[in-house]
């Protein structure tokens, strides 16, 4: 089926990313936006955009009826769900199919088979993919407490219905178990509408290593190598990189083959990610499969030259995968930092407000995927990720240095961001040595705070700026603004300016 018009059922940077791919391929795009997103870049980017109203996710980006309705009305013949929102919702995939719209992703059945984390592990164990010891509900007659005793503390509680760190809790002793279960159920219910939990062995110093998969609708599957996503905070990835220093060619091949096996086992099609935990002894375990595009797909694109989103569309159009595993190579090193509107010094509390000044670091091999721009209002309705900053270098050291430079030149004033925190991580000797595990932040940045010393330059700059503006107010009768024509290019320069 030729895809001619795609409704992008998402917002922010990923909506922009998908629309760019469509436009390059000559495919028309339909954007959607909730009230608070009316002025977002993805709205401008789309060939046409339609309102979803109330910003509450359930009323807007999760509202299947509205989305299907707009797709039908505009003549779209495919839907790209992006990540988050409805991207792993099998009912949405099915509803699209029923409405004659190609869902750009795997089938509803495949989403279902991996959406239930317990069933997913069961399937993988049967297929011969290594799986972490745990409690998945199939152990007959065992209570969650008995399972903890069998597996041994610490254990990890996770929501069965979804990922992204929501509903995850680490439990170190039996006494903490009940409280953790309650809190996890509450978060799981609210995030996924399903409070079923699962339990697994909590590994010491594990790395999070995932493999990007591309599979066509004819059973051909390749992997695009690994991504190391060990730097996490509360199970949310913060910094990702590829290749991983923990993998040699032999282990990379083995894990890649396991990832392909996982995909083939469930008849996977389109782009997906097989997540593994890698322990200190270089043993790896299947963790889960994300049946969608991932936030961190860009680092794979930087090191393989492959456009994953375009391949998603080509695969959904029924094209054969022309990439061959033997010919695929990784080159150089890529790192991604997720820029969040949050305050690292205040327990990473999301920060809201207006982005007043945005000056981005630019240069070769710096990629900046964002759905916000100067003047954007950061609302509390959605994920506080502002942008993804991705760099590529000849090797890991070169890429790290470029990332440090880019973070140091990333000016975003108006909302509090995690940029100083990201800089501190990239600058840390443990990061430089590549000695990463999923406890990295907890180990090195438990109660991190930026220096509170105020350099005198800061006060000097503020005082001069205030001095100059107070001077202008005094003779403002004569303000330049009055003399300027009302042309759009006068947007360069603030209107009450003294130079």
């Amino acid at each position: 089926m030729e895809i001619t018009k795609v409704l992008v059922a998402n917002r922010g940077e990923i909506a922009v990313r998908i629309m760019t791919a469509c436009q390059e391929m000559g495919i028309a795009t339909v954007g959607v936006y909730s009230d608070v997103d009316a002025k977002s870049p993805h709205v401008e980017m789309a060939d046409e955009s339609y309102p979803l109203g109330d910003p509450t996710p359930s009323a807007s980006y999760l509202n299947m009826d509205k989305l299907i309705d707009i797709a039908k009305k505009t003549g779209a013949n495919a839907v790209h769900p992006g990540y988050g929102f409805l991207s792993e919702n099998s009912k949405f995939a099915q509803t699209c199919a029923d409405a004659g719209l190609k869902f750009i992703g795997p089938s509803a059945e495949v989403i279902d088979s991996m959406g239930d984390k317990i069933a997913a592990k069961r399937t993988m164990r049967k297929a011969g993919v290594p799986v972490i010891p745990g409690f998945t509900g199939e152990e007959k007659g065992e209570t969650i407490q008995q399972a903890c005793e069998r597996i041994g503390f610490p254990v990890l509680i996770k929501a069965s219905g979804g990922g992204g760190g929501k509903g995850m809790k680490i439990v170190h002793a039996m006494g903490e178990l009940d409280a953790a279960i309650q809190s996890a159920r509450r978060e799981a219910k609210s995030s996924f509408g399903n409070d079923e939990l699962l339990l697994e062995k909590y590994l010491a110093k594990p790395r999070h290593i995932e493999f990007q998969i591309l599979a066509d609708e004819f059973g051909n599957v390749v992997h695009l190598f690994e991504r190391e996503c060990s730097i996490q905070r509360r199970h949310q990835k913060v910094i990702e990189e590829t290749p991983s220093v923990a993998l040699d060619q032999n282990l990379r091949d083995k894990m890649g083959q396991a990832a392909i096996l996982a995909a083939k086992t469930i008849g996977y099609s389109n782009a997906g990610t097989v997540e593994f935990m890698l322990d200190a002894d270089k043993k790896f375990y299947f963790l889960e499969m994300n049946t969608r595009l991932q936030v961190e797909h860009a680092i794979t694109e930087m090191t393989t030259g492959i456009d994953i989103v375009k391949w998603q569309i080509k695969i959904a159009s029924g094209e054969h995968l022309t990439l061959e595993q033997e010919k695929l190579i990784q080159h150089g090193h890529a790192i991604e930092c997720r820029i969040y509107a949050e305050d690292p010094e205040k327990n990473f509390m999301p920060s809201t407000g207006t982005l007043k000044t945005v000056e981005l670091p630019t240069g070769m091999n710096i990629r900046h995927d964002t759905g916000i721009s100067q003047g954007s209002k950061i609302s509390p309705y959605y994920d506080p990720m502002l942008a993804k900053l991705i760099v590529y270098g000849e090797d890991r050291k070169d890429a790290s240095r470029k990332m440090e430079w880019a973070l140091s030149n990333y000016i975003a004033l108006g909302v509090t961001t995690n940029i100083p925190f990201l800089r501190a991580i990239v600058h840390h000797p443990a990061f430089a040595s590549g000695d990463l595990d999923t406890h990295f932040i907890e180990t090195y940045f438990k109660s991190w705070a930026a220096s509170t010393t105020l350099p005198p330059e800061v006060l000097i700059a503020a005082a001069i700026d205030d001095f100059k503006h107070s001077a202008i107010v005094d003779d403002s009768e004569n303000s330049q603004a009055e003399n300027e024509s009302h042309s759009p290019w006068k947007q360069v320069g603030r209107w009450r300016i003294d130079s």
Partner: protein, 171 residues
């Protein structure tokens, strides 16, 4: 001309005067002679004795956000007469740092709590955030109940600080 800035609870007075093309700026007990250049709005360079510093400034009302050497400093300009008011008010109230929904209320009106006690839990962006007592003291009023929607900046809790010098209720 003298300005007052407040950063992380501390006050910084700054004296400034223009000397031809330069500025003379007094910070603490030091005086700096500064060449100032505005490259474009909000984007300036300071030349202080040959050392060049580039800064970005964003201003809104009394707030100043300044980017220097990769760091962002957020602080306030304190206007004459305003200082007293804002500083007396702050310690007795806790405002919401986030918009979201109250999921748990952990203290009652009139209750005596220790510093760090979780007074409210707010769910926002699918994560839970805890509003903790910034000091030991008495809860005067919890302004919301479970299920309420709160907006960023609203008054959540009124509290009376247990004064260090005042007689303590228990040891």
């Amino acid at each position: 001309m003298e300005m007052q800035y407040e950063y992380e609870g501390k006050m910084y007075p700054v004296k400034i005067s223009r000397e031809g093309e330069q500025f003379k700026v007094g910070v603490g007990d030091k005086t700096f002679v500064v060449d100032y250049k505005e490259l474009k709005p909000g984007f300036i360079t300071l030349n202080i004795g040959g050392k060049i510093t580039k800064c970005n400034i964003a201003t809104e009302d009394n707030q100043r956000h300044i980017f220097i050497n990769g760091n962002v400093y957020r602080f306030n300009k304190v206007e004459a007469g305003m200082k007293q008011a804002s500083f007396d008010k702050l310690p007795s109230s806790i405002t919401s740092p986030i918009s979201g929904k109250v999921t748990v209320v952990g203290a009652k009106d009139g209750e005596i709590v220790n510093s760090g006690h979780v007074i409210l839990t707010i769910e926002a962006m699918k994560m839970e955030y805890q509003i903790k007592a910034p000091y030991a003291g008495k809860i005067e009023k919890v302004c919301f109940k479970t299920g309420d929607q709160v907006d960023i900046g609203v008054l959540l809790v009124e509290m009376e600080k247990e004064e260090a010098g005042a007689p303590k209720k228990e040891e």
